[in-house]
């Protein structure tokens, strides 16, 4: 089993080798986890964040956010359906991925992720959405004709009961599932953080704060994504937004950013103050290779600027149109900033040598499996799913007496 390696890989690695600064272990030239593994925690984070936003309605009775309840749930589902794909695609042997489920090694953080993922998708999201939509699906099945009648009946799992007791049960079940769902969402993304945080070989990753930093940034990105979609949909449909709802989301977003910023700052302060063996190379990493993506994109434009904007929106009572515009811009900046955060963790952790004596380079491929095009396709896919879901499960209620309106 030898012979030349594929030409594209050879060129990529030769280029990366020529960009090495200082000394690295020779096997470190290759970037093992590339752009797809940046996309993976980004998408998973949006799932967890959107779900937690939705749960505010059910568990904490934040009535203002009711209009986006369904939107948030469907967003979580659309992103959840894509979450496993980048992982699957980046494997050397994707056809063996099932082994994670059939012969998992219990000491592996990654092995357990498959189960956490499945539990969250099957045990929480789908069931919650089903209870939320059951009544509407029955009504739609009654009204629809032909094929769609069958589709709606099948989606409602052929239930027909619209008695007040049944509807009350739907509500109760939905609440119970949300209560279980919150820790599950925490688990889902905290776990992704643990996959990185538990790697003691890599001081950039190996931090006890990693799961909680991942979780907070997930909440930030999920709320920002729902806010972005809410404004975008209202523009596309030419509908009036519920500004109370939007302001409330803005408030939650602001709080989440503050907590996230505090946690990440704590991580950096802790590292700088402890000044361990790795501090020299990490300082070099942040001030050179990661300066733009970390200091400029992640912190300044992705965190502090939107935080300032949202704070100003709240302090000065600006008119609706301006508020909408500022929220919209902020949500986009935050989404970009969180993507940069994932990049800085995943790629950043592979840009310095474990010998702590040198820096590597990462040259992203444009086409191919582990490439920019694939990453963009995976990031676009949830929106395709979301369009289908909106068509199948309208986020708007059919009757005017129903609570949701988004």
């Amino acid at each position: 089993m030898s012979g030349a390696i594929p030409q594209g890989l050879y060129e990529q690695l030769s280029h990366q080798l020529s960009q090495v600064i200082g000394f690295i272990y020779p096997n470190e030239v290759e970037t093992q986890w590339a752009i797809l593994i940046v996309v993976y925690p980004y998408i998973t984070g949006i799932v967890a964040g959107a779900f937690i936003l939705a749960s505010l309605v059910k568990v904490f009775n934040v009535v203002e956010v009711q209009p986006i309840y369904r939107l948030a749930l469907l967003t979580a589902l659309a992103f959840m359906l894509v979450a496993g794909m980048p992982l699957q695609l980046h494997l050397g042997h994707p056809e063996r991925a099932y082994e994670i489920f059939f012969t998992p090694q219990t000491t592996s953080a990654m092995a357990m992720f498959g189960f956490v993922y499945l539990w969250y998708l099957m045990g929480i999201l789908l069931i919650e959405i089903w209870f939320e939509y059951r009544q509407q699906l029955i009504l739609m099945a009654r009204e629809a004709k032909g094929l769609m009648k069958g589709v709606y009946s099948a989606l409602s799992l052929f239930s027909k009961d619209l008695s007040p007791e049944a509807l009350a049960f739907d509500k109760k079940a939905s609440k119970v599932i949300t209560i279980i769902g919150i820790p599950s969402a925490f688990l889902l993304h905290g776990y992704v953080g643990f996959i990185f945080g538990s790697v003691k070989a890599n001081p950039w990753w190996g931090s006890v704060l990693m799961p909680i930093v991942f979780l907070m940034s997930a909440i930030v990105s999920g709320i920002a994504m729902v806010m972005f979609l809410y404004i975008l949909l209202s523009m596309l449909r030419n509908e009036k937004l519920d500004m109370r709802c939007l302001d409330k989301i803005g408030l939650f977003l602001m709080v989440a950013i503050i907590v996230d910023f505090a946690l990440e700052s704590l991580d950096y302060i802790h590292r700088i103050y402890q000044s361990e063996e790795s501090i020299g190379i990490l300082t070099q990493l942040v001030s050179s290779k990661l300066f733009t993506s970390l200091v400029v994109v992640q912190v300044l434009f992705g965190m502090l600027l939107p935080l300032l904007v949202i704070a100003l929106v709240r302090i000065f009572r600006l008119n609706e149109e301006l508020r909408k515009l500022l929220y919209f811009t902020s949500s986009l900046l935050i989404l970009l900033g969180i993507f940069a955060m994932r990049w800085n963790v995943v790629i950043g952790g592979q840009l310095y040598s474990k010998s702590l004596r040198g820096l590597m380079a990462y040259k992203m491929e444009i086409t191919g499996i582990e490439s920019l095009v694939m990453a963009l396709a995976l990031l676009a896919l949830p929106f395709v799913f979301l369009t289908v879901l909106f068509w199948l499960l309208p986020p708007r209620w059919m009757k005017t007496n129903a609570p949701g309106t988004a």
Binding site: P26, N27, H93
Partner: protein, 253 residues
């Protein structure tokens, strides 16, 4: 597709499936050649390696032997073992270079630099940790520790997720571009279980590498451990390496 057509396809498919089944069998047959002999008892051994830094002359023959013996890709991005060269200056500044990635040995000797107080070579390889982080993280158990203490990768099971490569503090693993699975030093498991030495040890002209068995009485490795002051790499990570270094400078990570 009608019934006749369906049946015809089934009939032609069955022998084809039978043919396909042969492939894994031939692969298994090849495996058997390198498998330990029937009387080999892994529980009676606990293998390790000693590296005498002062003896290494940086000839790189171990690296070449390893690549040839284990079909390690020739390109300079994949190594089961490699040699680092350290240069320590009087002001404490240390420069390190991996001489194994050089395309050709330098034609001329470097000019003397009076500020350099010490230079030396350090052979590196998988530390065959007694407490291996790579084994801990493997999601499917494809990388495992044998009873004789060697950490191996089952290439027929590895899914190529590369988590083990991330978890190795020593950079000893790579993804084999041909098999698309994780790969690393095996102490030449196919040789040592037959009583032979690993290829790198076999070819070393200065005996800078000592292979042995911690369970063996009067073993060379046990003697190496007794007569030298021993260090291991990155002891703070508690991986308990079984590659022991003698005369190792504190600068080496």
């Amino acid at each position: 597709m009608n019934k006749r057509e369906f049946l015809r396809q089934v009939v032609s498919f069955l022998p084809a499936a039978g043919l396909l089944r042969m492939f894994p069998e031939t692969a298994e047959a090849k495996e058997l050649i390198s498998a330990p002999t029937a009387d080999y008892d892994p529980t009676k051994h606990w293998y390790g390696m000693g590296v005498d830094v002062d003896k290494c002359i940086g000839c790189n023959r171990c690296v070449e032997a390893c690549k040839a013996e284990n079909a390690v890709p020739e390109e300079p991005f994949y190594f089961r073992t490699w040699i680092e060269r350290y240069k320590i200056r009087s002001d404490g500044e240390t420069t390190v270079e991996c001489i194994s990635t050089r395309e050709a040995p330098p034609e001329q000797a470097e000019p003397e630099d009076p500020n350099v107080v010490r230079t030396f070579f350090v052979p590196k390889l998988c530390n065959q940790c007694a407490h291996p982080p790579c084994v801990q993280v493997c999601p499917v158990g494809a990388t495992f520790q044998t009873s004789d203490g060697v950490v191996l990768v089952d290439a027929t099971r590895c899914i190529g997720c590369r988590y083990c490569i991330q978890a190795c503090p020593y950079g000893a693993r790579y993804l084999n571009p041909h098999t698309r699975t994780a790969d690393k030093c095996t102490f030449c498991y196919h040789r040592i279980t037959k009583g032979l030495l690993p290829a790198c040890v076999e070819v070393c002209p200065t005996e800078a590498r000592i292979f042995g068995d911690f369970k063996g009485q009067a073993d060379r490795l046990v003697r190496f451990q007794r007569v030298n002051q021993i260090s291991v790499l990155k002891p703070d990570l508690n991986t308990e390496p079984k590659v022991l270094y003698a005369q190792l400078d504190g600068e080496v990570r």
